[in-house]
Subunit: 208 residues, 2 copies
DNA sequence: AATAAATATGACATTACGTCAATAATGTAT
DNA sequence: ATACATTATTGACGTAATGTCATATTTATT
């Protein structure tokens, strides 16, 4: 990951160093004053580079945040990609519960960065698009999982799997933000168990 | 509503007229260029008043939007206040379905204003707080409804009603924004029916 | 008619933005 | 080694928006 940009010569090296300095400085500034209040001037001052330099490497503070968020994005994608092939309603519930738990725990693990993300989503269309990509990835995956469960007679077939998937993800997402804001009522476990119980209870067949 | 501010004298009248001009102009500007891009200069120009005048009546464009949103807020509060005392699982589902439908239809009715709201929530803490008030009002109401259903043996008692209420509202809210953005997949009816089916199926007792 | 009080105004200081011509650092060719 | 080319960095500049405040205008009171 760090050596993705291959160092070819001293020139390029200098460029990369400068970019790194900017990213590191931006991270500190963002976490201190928040995304909205952060200014390019603050960042270049902390990075000890000239004003124009920031615009050589990034189009603005939005793009800096996008780069900083990339590894968090990666973690989300990993969670989205767990395989799903349960043989019973109970097994399905366990898989779904653990996935919901992983998702919500991410809020605690990456709270600081996600706080920035939340602030930025409202302001910046590019960041909003980035989060949208995560969301659609999850919804797509959940949608497939429901279709699978419906195919094998585990889930109710009369429900539109795409709409159900979206609704289920939305509940998870909103609780994620709540945890990020440290406003949640119960523990992550309790939240995950409760919402999973309602979801699986409503989606899966009751008689078997 | 219009005569809430009693006109006492010509002076006060002039002040009110100016305020109205600003509100009307702001509405047009907001709907044309969006909340973020709107500037005080644009608004005062359209209202045909001096620059400083805007700051006499409002602390900034956030406060103007808050006033503009007030009647939309009112409509939400009305939806939140429908009474709930079902005698059966089916009756409960019907009430819940119709409430979800009303809520989502609001997205279509007030799409323009809600688009502004969505943009502004990310930027402005005061507007975010205003939306939060709506949200908590709904969650509080839903929470009471679940507790009622649990008390009368209609809903599963092992579930934490506050957490369930929050999760259910979140699904509704996110679909609301999706409809506001005109990105929704199905019709409002289909969405409402689907999410209500999963929700009531998961929350209410199956054997009776 | 003179004075007081409320309202409205726009010039001003401030702050942030993004650009660009000039400068510095590094690489290449003779 | 030296001259030239390329890449990277810099900060001053023009622009645009903000909120404030002393001044002007309008309305009320004595």
């Amino acid at each position: 990951m760090t050596n993705k940009e291959e160092v070819q010569d001293k020139r390029h090296l200098r460029s990369i160093k400068t970019k790194q300095k900017l990213l590191q400085a931006a991270r500190e500034i963002f976490l201190t004053v928040g995304f909205q209040n952060a200014t390019i001037s603050q960042i270049i001052k902390k990075a000890e580079v000239g004003y124009g330099t920031a615009y050589v490497h990034f189009s603005g503070k939005e793009e800096i945040l996008i780069v900083l968020m990339d590894h968090v994005m990666e973690k989300f994608y990993q969670i989205a990609e767990v395989s799903f092939s349960p043989n019973s309603k109970e097994e399905a519930r366990d898989i779904i519960l653990s996935q919901a738990m992983d998702f919500l725990k991410m809020a605690e693990t990456e709270r600081n960065m996600l706080q920035l993300f939340e602030q930025a989503i409202g302001t910046s269309p590019s960041i909003s698009a980035k989060w949208n990509a995560i969301r659609e990835k999850f919804i797509q995956r959940i949608s497939e999982d429901i279709a699978y469960a419906q195919k094998y007679g585990l889930a109710k077939t009369e429900l539109n799997h795409k709409l159900v998937a979206r609704g289920w993800f939305y509940t998870n997402e909103m609780y994620l933000w709540e945890i990020v804001r440290n406003e949640q009522q119960g523990t992550v476990e309790e939240i995950a168990k409760t919402i999973t119980a309602v979801y699986t209870g409503g989606l899966y067949q009751t008689n078997e």
